[in-house]
Symmetry: D2
Subunit: 300 residues, 4 copies
């Protein structure tokens, strides 16, 4: 039974990781979060040790390191800007790391992780959950040998309240901004299916909306991402929906309304089988976002 330690236990996404650990018949041994509203642990692993400070957590992990109770994997779902540091904590404690997206905020930091992977002989895995979605897998199969370049319209509006800009998610240095925090899923999915980026034009780039034109090897993508409810289409507003997601590939709307519930579990399953996505896999999407951010800075 593989043993896990989890960093970021009080956050929004932590329960998905706990569930994935549980559903893959593994054990959560220790968890850490400075915020102690972690009652959700009881639904999964009440016997897990819990710490409010990383240092005390680290002491516990280090003590287990040379025993039968040694941790195998860290699950990392802390705020984005802490990811790579927490990944290194895992590796240096002889553990593999399974990290929420984005693995790093600046792509140039990937090389430090790569080096440490080699030095420690441990592995870094990134959760790229859309790659496990049946509709996405289906698409990838379908366009595998496609010769012509296809047109794609991607529109994703998921309204967020005022709190968003006053949380770490609204702090560019901590989250990487909208394009990274929300967009990276789609950029990863698209490059995975349609190939490497060739051109990358940014049209709008504000705190709540980013859009542009992205040319990939096999597709040209008009994309629009927003957390501003004013961008919701009329019919969404009328039916009191707060999110709108549309991906039109060629002339077909991608059916994408369900199938999200257990993607973390599938991602963990692949990692445990030795098929997880690693450092190289995140590079294309992170590079696209990094370009978007740089363009913004130049334009100002």
């Amino acid at each position: 039974m593989k043993k896990f330690a989890l960093m970021g236990a009080a956050g929004y996404i932590a329960p998905r990781h706990m569930r994935a650990i549980k559903e893959n018949n593994c054990d959560l041994v220790a968890a850490v979060d400075p915020f102690d509203s972690v009652g959700v642990i009881d639904s999964y692993f009440p016997d897990a040790s819990y710490f409010t400070e990383v240092e005390r957590f680290e002491r516990h992990i280090d003590k287990l390191r040379k025993t039968n109770g040694k941790i195998d994997y860290f699950s990392i779902c802390t705020p984005n800007y802490l990811h790579d540091s927490h990944v290194r904590l895992a590796l240096r404690n002889d553990c593999d790391a399974i990290c929420e997206k984005p693995l790093v905020i600046k792509p140039k930091n990937l090389k430090y992780l790569k080096n440490l992977e080699k030095e420690t002989d441990q592995r870094v895995y990134s959760i790229l959950q859309l790659r496990h979605h049946p509709a996405v897998l289906h698409l990838r199969e379908r366009y595998k040998d496609s010769a012509e370049k296809i047109n794609i319209q991607l529109k994703y509006i998921t309204s967020r309240g005022k709190w968003y800009q006053y949380s770490w998610k609204g702090d560019q240095a901590k989250s990487g901004g909208l394009a990274l925090n929300i967009g990276v899923h789609f950029f990863d999915m698209l490059t995975w299916i349609f190939g490497e980026p060739i051109n990358n034009f940014v049209e709008v780039n504000t705190a709540d909306t980013v859009s542009g034109l992205l040319e990939l090897e096999q597709a040209t993508v008009e994309w629009f991402l927003s957390i501003d409810k004013n961008n919701l289409p009329k019919h969404a507003v009328e039916t009191q929906q707060t999110a709108y997601r549309s991906i039109i590939i060629g002339n077909e709307e991608l059916e994408f309304s369900g199938g999200f519930a257990d993607l973390h579990t599938k991602a963990y399953e692949e990692v445990l089988r030795g098929n997880g996505f690693g450092i190289e896999d995140v590079l294309p999407s992170l590079s696209i976002v990094h370009e978007i951010l740089n363009k913004r800075e130049k334009e100002l």
Copy 2:
């Protein structure tokens, strides 16, 4: 439309307050919590201002104070030991306060709230949600004029994982300990129905289990509270239940398995109607717990 500000927005119980505000057709204008995982706000009041620091929250409240946007009520669901200070913040900003249980940790601190209520001409309300439960209301009616003293067995085991003792809930100075944090609901319910405490014997008093014998005007209560799963009865363990609740009054088991979902909404409804429970109402149950804690200290 009454306007609310909420303190403790990231905590476990905050969504019940948001829902209660919503279901009573009121508005949440501002919220604060040092921990910024507050996405739940989006489900209720995305336009609410959000702050990670009490000082910035206070500035916002003070600015609204002399305008049409003035806040009417504070909803307070921060860690227990902060309650009375946050209640005073409400009162001093010309707002009424609706506060989670327990209003204070030490009953002697109630008088400071009482004085400030008078000085500011504002009101302090405590959420005593079991008093709105239909089964409890029914009991109260039934035993209203009962002359004989009835025997009650109360057993409440709700297992909590290791995290509990490393969170503020496990810190006696911050939560008031098990008897206060979990027991106060029952002590309040029992005194409300069966009258003032006469005698109070404590049998067990550890970090995870407290029990004793409580004599009220109209009842003698054997009570047992625990967060240790080893105290769960066999049948609960066998059916994988993590909580067990039993109240036997006379020879009848109180049917108490449902009806909890909307008690905060009912509590708010009564407050808005002018019928909320105030400072005096919490005194009996807080006094019982305080005695329990004192007995512990004496015995050591």
Copy 3:
């Protein structure tokens, strides 16, 4: 013997306040700071109660409020952006407030303090220590009835290391930036001596240097403020000095090398005599800085 409570006890400037309280034969009863490296208290008031949380501090203050031990004054030396909220805490606890500069970051927030002063019948004092400096008092006397407009060159370079930009002082929203955090002393001194601002031109405005031309009723001031050591004059560098201060009024260099040690004590002395500087006194200098900041934003 007047009784004080101090907010911001671990900060750089706190010992000046403790000393001022001591040297004016007053008592420090309570202190608060989230950072607990407050051993300096022992040199002045070892019997002072100490709290790491504002809420617990507030409970203590409120308890004393109706007793012989009532606090008379709050000394506030927390980070700038918290000042006005902490001043309100003082006033609402029936105490006067003695606050470090700047009283507020945005001048429009002064009116809320003014209103609360009236409502609570308490007073707000601002530490404007240069006004107590003998050389400044002398200047004021000398130019009191001066008819002609005099030329002034003010140059203040006080080099700060990298840490500055990563502390709250480097965060515009928390400190008000260089012009406020360091410049406000000089703008206050100059307007106090030479009258109201008439024109205000900003030349340079970066994270580490601000400069401009300020026209006052009786003077035209070329000013230059910097925390960048590269702006130090050669002779300062050669003599390994890290700060350079020069004020030339007309053709005379203001002798300004000493006399700073006990200015807080003098400021407190005046407050205790009923002569402290209040809300109105800070308006001219804060308005100048606010204009500087606004110009910056417009120019970008």
Copy 4:
């Protein structure tokens, strides 16, 4: 020129470390402390990078690791309970660690540091500054070959204000309590001079006073440590002294009033020469304190 990183830059003792680095002609490259009142850096190393979060500090250290700018030593002066975790951070970043006393709170944790020293081929040094004091060196020389057992009376009263018990120093789990936080210096000095502990009787053990009888190979020590000013001798009170230190060895009072100023510098000098004190050196004094603490628990 050796390169240093410093953890705990805002604390009381940090300036001694900065000075020691400076006076040994080394460079401070990076510093971290969650509390950002670190202006003292300017007096020593204004070009040092500064971080408020350990994770961002670690990223910086890791980036330098494979460059010419690689850090050689970590200086660790964080709260006691974090020491060993921060030492491991140093070692795992291919740096040696120079750590304030006590290296660990529980002696059993020394073995994890020892193991990691071997794994990483880095060294852990502990600051045991009294061993560099001329009077102590002299004593050691004098009693080196002494055959008879000598009687020692050690009395150290250093009064601390109320804040002490509300800071991490007053939290047994964070500081190790009085015997560790203040006493460890003396237990180290005594065992270094007079040999291993043989017997250890504890007489008083409260939050502010500990005393007992310690039998070493070559001495019998009556010791008394207190932070309660009521224990100060009359003449100290009369001369307004807040500390009293007396060590009587045989019939001679140890002259011990000066010579403390540069002990950190000397300690660093020895480390840089390869003569620093390591993990084994701290064991005797930590074991004595651990016994004292255990006795306390048993007696209660």
